[in-house]
Symmetry: C2
Subunit: 361 residues, 2 copies
Amino acid sequence: MDVRQISEEVTARTKVDTTARDVEKVISCLSSSSHFWEIVCNAQKPFSVVAEIINALWERGFVSIEPNGEIAITQKGQEFIKEVSIAPRRDFTCPSCDGRGIAMDKIREWMQKFDELTVDRPKAIADYDQGYITTPTVMARVALMAERGDLEGKRLLVLGDDDLLSLAAAITKMPREIVVLEIDERLVDYINDRAQKLNLPVKAFKYDFRDSLPDQFVGSFDTFNTDPPETMEALEVCMTRGLSALSGEGCAGYFGLTRTESSLKKWNEFQQMLLSKFRVAITDIIDNFNHYVNWDYLLGSIRDDYSFIQVKPRLNWYRSSMYRIETVSGFGRIENKPMPCELYVDEEALIYKPEKTLTKA
Amino acid sequence: MDVRQISEEVTARTKVDTTARDVEKVISCLSSSSHFWEIVCNAQKPFSVVAEIINALWERGFVSIEPNGEIAITQKGQEFIKEVSIAPRRDFTCPSCDGRGIAMDKIREWMQKFDELTVDRPKAIADYDQGYITTPTVMARVALMAERGDLEGKRLLVLGDDDLLSLAAAITKMPREIVVLEIDERLVDYINDRAQKLNLPVKAFKYDFRDSLPDQFVGSFDTFNTDPPETMEALEVCMTRGLSALSGEGCAGYFGLTRTESSLKKWNEFQQMLLSKFRVAITDIIDNFNHYVNWDYLLGSIRDDYSFIQVKPRLNWYRSSMYRIETVSGFGRIENKPMPCELYVDEEALIYKPEKTLTKA
């Protein structure tokens, strides 16, 4: 057998271009973990690609699936790995900052405050494809904004906020004003309630980003933050709204983008769209910066045809890269009109079974 | 006075687009340091822009220049900063990894070996715009490659190697083969000598990247590494050579890009060129990853009209962001022909005085 043959099979099954090196990467991750969700996390390939590669290896007798869903490399698999000399995955992540590059000691007090403030936060629900980032992630994100000069004394727009980043930013007392635009009324109410009780400069409004940005928010912020759904259409709409809200040159946008719902081919398309359509530069892409808290509805919504997938994740497996973009000279007005679009479903973003696919939002 | 007015003045003097926010950023850095090179390092704006902003502030009496070249904010300056509420720069850099995200404990032994191996390394010389990265930088860069699966068992091309990254990579015993292409014969000889004495799988050849890539290297590597000169032309030539050397989809390129010699406007142009011309995605941009050892010829070559510049740097001030790019599906053959180009001189890359400008390479 040949990794190229597997890659072709997986491409046919998933409709996501899969290369021989993608197969090697998954095998490399299998050599250092037997837990499906850890392999997905480390392989940094679309979910369905990782699942089908593992299945293809199982069909060839290179891995076996234990009764508990763990994935073990067989004797035959070991021999193959040796033959084609695929090295096990190496990990050099800084243990102090989890690779984010942010000093944890400087944000620990804020983390504690954030946890206290949000102890009764709304649960992530499937209706809007929710899933929020961990406390170290949200505070590190705020610290990153502060370090880059995008927070203190600035006006911040948060576009979608199940992460409660607005409250995390407010805790630092740095921003002048924070506006949240969010589709989920539970979150709008929750954020406004917390802000009022603690006298924080945060205001949340109900908003569906497919609608045009309300006039009073156009061109009036220094910084935006968002975590877009990852179809190309949704990415474009999200960037259009965020950038429409910025006041000119030298402003910044922050958002996460995964490798689990977006192949690097989609990254290439997204980056091309971003740079050709808007006057921005990508200043930072920080791998694995954003860790998401596991959400309750995962196993109930996800495919159940492979037993190795129906396993409770034992780590915060869903991660994304932290992007920062900055507007450059020549940045100007952006067309602000309604943009109907498919938010959640494409071949790569499809984690859930079709019938469970989220269409309410 | 008004920051916008200063930004217009600086744009006229430097021919580099400078925004009001750029001026604010430099003022923010002045609030946390009085040392010119630290301000340049933190402001992340082109060298000449920072110099002219400081001069414009001095002309207005907002800063004074001490006899030792230190830059102090005057009473008038303090009042102004308060009036327009510019916050001092904040620093949240992880002290364990210097913000690189790489576990230093895992690379310390390699660092020691590298220092021993290269104790008599050739000095950086002006002829080829040299200036090499620190030992923690070079070993962290190698670790990053290893973590991303781009080093172990792979063929690595190093395009220009005053950093001696080839030897650093060889120390880990991970790469299958390393080829260095370098214009400076001192370095070619030094690397070959070290490699031979220690039986390392490294071979260095003399090469000017304006010439087409020798046939035997086309399409034959998994990974390339380079540190391009930062005119747009040189960036394009460098990417063309590096990518021509890669063998297909899923291969990677590593290189540094500064904010000191390239404005974000140039970053935007460079990123657009990269993504539209080649089938790659940018997977990582790690801010301030690369620190360069101060080079002897700096103060002798640099402008001497402002006394605050003619000060010996007390930190490794010259830094760059670490880029990683990956080839995606559809990546194919790239035209490989001679590309004569301006390597060192444009408005932004111009650190040195015109008459000292490097033209030999």
